[in-house]
């Protein structure tokens, strides 16, 4: 059990270890994602300064499940809005009400013997609380599904990557992908028109290969750095 959790956490911490390829524009990135998926890669992600139309489909992502979270919280808000008003104005009077929580006791006021509670007059507050809980659910749920806030992200080691929020477009292939092979994947990325490919892990970003032509020395200089990083990575994550 503990091992399973540890493996899971380790996987999460290392999911961004892999190759980071830069592409020139949204169109090239879109085509590259399609190309990589055709080659059988699945653990990939793209990074762009704005959401790219159609990219979810290209990456094979379904519709976000956020709506279910929001709907659940909307019902909670609606119920609380009703309960708050019903309880405070028409709640039951118990003899055994514990003294410690009298502050929460209801306080029905009889006005001309009118009914103590009416749902019609409660609609505005019920509506407002529904909206409040849904909105909190939308924001909180979005952050939770995205795993944010995430102050440390190993992709920040790449200097190039800083432009992903400005005008650069990146495709990332995780090392955990079944198809992943550092040289082979780098070749695949360059074949699809990558401008540059970097290998990123917890120790920093290194050129996967200086240029698509200088295959030999680029891979040779970068490879030895990978091996010692592996043990420190898993301990660092836990």
């Amino acid at each position: 059990m503990l091992d399973a959790i540890r493996t899971r956490l380790d996987e999460r911490a290392n999911q961004n270890v892999g190759l980071l390829a830069e592409f020139s524009d949204p169109g090239a990135l879109y085509d590259a994602v399609k190309g990589m998926r055709e080659k059988g890669y699945s653990r990939l992600d793209t990074f762009s300064p704005f959401p790219i139309h159609g990219m979810d489909r290209a990456m094979g992502l379904g519709v976000s499940k956020l709506g279910f979270i929001v709907f659940g919280l909307a019902l909670v808000g609606l119920f609380l809005g009703w309960f708050l008003q019903w309880w405070t104005s028409a709640g039951p009077q118990f003899d055994w009400w514990p003294g410690a929580i009298t502050n929460l006791a209801p306080y029905p006021i009889n006005i001309s013997n009118k009914p103590l509670f009416s749902w019609e007059a409660s609609v505005p507050v019920m509506f407002e609380l529904t909206i409040l809980f849904s909105a909190l659910g939308a924001v909180g749920g979005m952050l939770a599904l995205n795993g944010l806030p995430k102050p440390y992200n190993l992709l920040f080691h790449s200097e190039r990557f800083g432009r992903a929020t400005d005008d650069a477009f990146f495709l990332h292939i995780s090392k955990a992908d079944g198809q992943f092979g550092r040289d082979a994947t780098t070749d695949d990325l360059f074949d699809l028109g990558a401008l540059a490919v970097e290998y990123v892990d917890h120790d920093g970003a290194t050129d996967a290969r200086a240029l698509p032509t200088s295959e030999g020395n680029g891979a040779a200089s970068a490879l030895p750095e990978v091996a010692p990083a592996t043990p420190s990575r898993s301990t660092g994550a836990l």
């Binding site: 990074f47 959401p51 952050l143």
Partner: protein, 524 residues
Amino acid sequence: MATTTSKSAYARLGDGSPAYPDGTPKTLEEEPLVRGNLSFHDVTEMVAVHSEKKTPGLWYLAFGAAVSVAGIMGLSLAVLVWNGPGVWGVNNPVGWGWAIVNFVFWVGIGHAGTLISAVLFLFRQKWRTSINRAAEAMTLFAVACALVFPTFHVGRVWLVYYLLPIPNTMAMWPNFKSPLLWDVFAVSIYGTVSLLFWYVGLIPDLGTMRDRAVRAGRMLRARILGFFALGWTGSNRHWRHYERAYLILAGLATPLVLSVHSVVSFDFAVSLIPGWHTTIFPPYFVAGAIFSGFAMVMTLMIVARKVYGLQNLITLDHIEKMNIIILVTGTVVGFAYITEFFIAWYSGVEYEQYAFINRATGPYWWAYWTMMSCNLIFPQLFWKKSFRRNIGIAFFISITTNIGMWFERFVITITSLHRDFLPSSWDYYTATAWDGLLFFGTFGLFFTLFLLFLRFVPMVAIAEVKGVMPQADPHFYHHSGDGHAVHDLAPYQTDATAEDAAPASPGVAPDAGDPEADRLGDGT
């Protein structure tokens, strides 16, 4: 979108001609949303630089003035709390004076931000992207100003928490059957949801600013921005949930924004005072809120685009579209004034008829006719296209609309109250200096907050503007199979030249954009 904009985006830049050379009629939708042939980086640069550069002297000057005026608000509040609401002009029949007028005025202004963000988002009005950030900020600050009035109008401000359902030793609960309490919920939740919406929209741009700070080596700044950016990377797996959250928030904020001013109108409509007890109030208040909110956005944006050189992002087309909304909502509001008169006559109720005759011809006739001319008559100028696209006229109408909408609330509140059912208690209401200074002071609070926003926060939604540019669409690029883009339109630029970045719109002096463009060219 891509097919229509790509036709017009680069080929023609707003030469004002009614048709393209090939004979296709030019419609409003086909105008490019971003002018000056900007690249993605230019857009980042154009917006981000204003919160990164050294604070300009002019900003300090404006900020000092705003803070001083906000100080007047503090002084007026101190006098009020020390002496009690007797320092205001409220008297026996007119128990709701300027405090309520100002509250409704500010809440109304606070509607445009969420309207632009949410309603226009749902209707896929992509032109909203360049103004929504500032409009949302304006909403937050207007709601903050609005909350000052009811908070202090309760008299004993130290007991204001009685408004909230907080368990207390007296086992007392608020009266949930009162519209005034609905108001507490509606306005405070509106403020909260607007803040969430604004912040969610800000997250990607804060990421942009953080990464720029890292590259510039300003690590303290990067740390602060990094804290608020929550580790945003622009991952598509994140964008997927993010876009869904934004859509849901827009869907939630739309009924919310309509409900808030409806609930505010219930404060009046649920009472029995002639002139207030009408079913037209909720829609009529909402239309008025949109009207006044857009006017305030217009006032601020006309100044900001000039001062910050954002003519390529906030183009004349944006101003024209806002003017159309001002024309429509102004006419709706004017129609509601006339409908009220008709219904008063048609109802046959003597008190109702008197209330309206008294509005137009009684002791407050001047307020009524100020309202009528500012809200119904002046916006009719916008039927003419050249007036809609004239910055001077747009600015003038935005100011008169703000004035007119304040007077609308004044007319509704004061004229109905000063002649109540018992003629012996009729009285004339005059505001005192402290009423006036407090209202004036809230403008100080508003502009203090707005100037802080302009200084520290990206004032245009960078990521959203990029998303509506033609080159953001992956199908904009025609690939020859090797992954390298080949397009038949203007090339994707990395540097804006002075000619390209200059505002191409008629009516804006070309020299206004040139220094900005030169600086941009150097900065890239």
